[in-house]
Symmetry: C2
Subunit: 364 residues, 2 copies
């Protein structure tokens, strides 16, 4: 099958670029003795998870137990659920998962630790724990300091759980910005503080897990971090190019679309909208828009509804006709992948494989 045979819109992955991205980050992690535990939310696909493990990843990261289940086919040694588990159904699934693979859960409260401990102990399981620190994103996590240490001590005392260390997400540290150096300094101070506190209390700190794609190639500058959990690096996207982590030539995933209407020469409508790209906007940018068109980078993909994308061709030098096919790099590839049931893996013009995005949806 050729790419020209695909019905549109379709999620297309360039295997040469994907493999290059995987190799580059595996080599970087190895060079700096950082464990690589990639976040699989970007691809949600066991075939790509397998490629990551084959290149030396120590395990996989997921956001949900339901995302983890299909990835077991990739045979990871361990899975980190980077998400606080709450509620009967989720606890049950976590315990079931722990019978099939070593499970690590990140959490940031006594309440979640207590419930998980009860469920784990009752089932005779052992769930490993990272306590979550907030290093500035103001999402989940407790700031480095007494609260974090007390939570770690609390976890240490609970049956059915075993503390392995700390997790944080430095996604606000966009290295290639004027604030980059200062943020890096603060991040180092936070990690040093955590290390000092845990050492003083004799708490285990086998894993200090950080690292996101925006910070990726600065990870070795954060002393005391033992592992990274980048996700987006497999495909890259418009956001990561904006963050300076990669170039357009590294973007491996595009949405293949067809022009379906050209009411005026300066306007074209494509058969992909928010149901194919998601409506995630581009932060830290004056550019706006919803994607970069490989065949027409000067055209502006300025708005969408569910089914259509709207292209402004004025002053772009671009003319499009009904039936023209365009490949578009999305703003945020993780949410775009989540919209697609299948991923078409190409090499050149040849469709080498069709993969089910088995971890898509998975709300609970």
């Amino acid at each position: 099958m050729k790419i020209g045979d695909l019905d549109t819109p379709a999620l297309v992955v360039d295997l040469d670029r994907l493999e290059r991205n995987l190799d580059r980050v595996a080599a970087y992690a190895a060079r700096h003795s950082l464990a690589l535990r990639p976040h699989t939310k970007t691809h949600k696909t066991p075939e790509i998870a397998r490629m990551q493990l084959d290149r030396g990843a120590v395990g996989l990261t997921v956001a949900k137990t339901t995302e983890a289940e299909p990835l077991l086919d990739a045979e990871p040694r361990e899975i980190l659920i980077a998400y606080p588990i709450w509620g009967e159904a989720k606890l049950r699934r976590t315990i079931e998962l722990s019978r099939r693979v070593r499970v690590i859960v990140a959490l940031d409260s006594r309440e979640t630790a207590d419930r998980l401990s009860e469920a784990s102990a009752a089932a005779g399981s052992l769930i490993e724990i990272l306590v979550e620190a907030d290093v500035g994103m103001r999402r989940c996590g407790l700031p480095p300091g007494d609260g974090l240490v007390e939570l770690a001590q609390h976890v240490e005392g609970l049956p059915g759980l075993r503390l392995r260390g700390v997790m944080f997400y430095p996604g606000h540290f966009w290295a290639e910005t004027p604030e980059g150096p200062e943020l890096l300094q603060r991040l180092n101070a936070d990690v040093a503080r955590i290390r000092k506190d845990f050492d003083a209390e004799g708490l285990p700190l086998e894993i200090v897990s950080g690292g996101s794609t925006p910070t990726l190639f600065h990870s070795h500058e954060i002393s005391g971090m033992t592992e990274i959990r980048p996700g987006t690096y497999v495909f890259c996207d418009r956001m990561q190019v904006g963050a300076g982590v990669c170039g357009w030539e590294d973007c491996a995933a595009t949405v293949l679309t067809t022009v379906v209407s050209t009411p005026e020469a300066s306007r074209a409508l494509i058969d992909g909208g928010s149901k194919s790209f998601s409506s995630d906007a581009l932060p830290r940018s004056d550019e706006g828009g919803f994607g970069r068109i490989l065949e027409a980078p000067t055209a502006r993909f300025h708005s969408m509804n569910e089914e259509h994308g709207y292209l402004d061709l004025s002053n772009s030098g671009v003319r499009l006709r009904i039936g023209d096919r365009l490949r578009i790099i999305p703003n945020h590839v993780c949410v775009a992948v989540n919209m697609h049931e299948k991923m078409y893996a190409i090499r050149g013009d040849e469709v080498e494989a069709v993969w089910d995005v088995r971890g898509r949806g998975k709300l609970q």
Copy 2:
């Protein structure tokens, strides 16, 4: 099963409100002798399509052939595909669909008409056509005038097709705004122009299809329109409340979520983000945010990532604890429904039915 038994996040539909919304619009359409051809993209669910047909809808509207297929279980007399069909696979599916139900397709170019005609004639089918007019949205469609008339004439001469009239989408006509009256006047002028042109050329104009939810209860003020295609009215959402079409008490669909982290008293994180709500923002509003929380309308649901929603509770008078469950009206319910595999239909606290959202996804 009670609502308290549901795992979160979950899409919950209040049946009393849904039925009231369906009754109100069916009565409005009947009172003004407007045919009702609801756009099913909002619910994507045959069970609700059936409720619409039982209340007198003349047929159903869909965006894709793949969205139409599961809705055949609701036994509509006819289905309007409000989307230009292009490409072999889509043509084939359209023809197959036309063997099971009367199919109407909207289109805005000779190219799409020619291809559809070839496919239809070759299969011995008859596809009905609405030519699409652009009345100001600048999406698909040709402006009222010569181009539109020529396209209609072209369709009239093609085998395998039968012209039934005109379709347009007046989604820019937000009645309850200062520009409302002027937009209504322009819309009336456009429809009058189309009627005059088609009459002069002896072109059939059995159907003049307009009407969206934002314009819903002003549809009878647009003379010469024969039918309406509202979608969002079944559930309403934050956007439609903003447009003045409905009140909070009409919002029938909410996303049920659980508080999973409260790192500070002024902040809470819920287990629903852009994968449950979509990242559609609120237009025409200074309010921003991603939803209205039934249990805490003063709390600000200010941002999201894929899995988490972030609530700012400062100055809200609200305190939340881990495990609290919140029901949230989304900004744009159509895209939120598209994220969910199941819909839980409740009456009071009782889950009366669990419906598969069978038309979700369906990119091609």
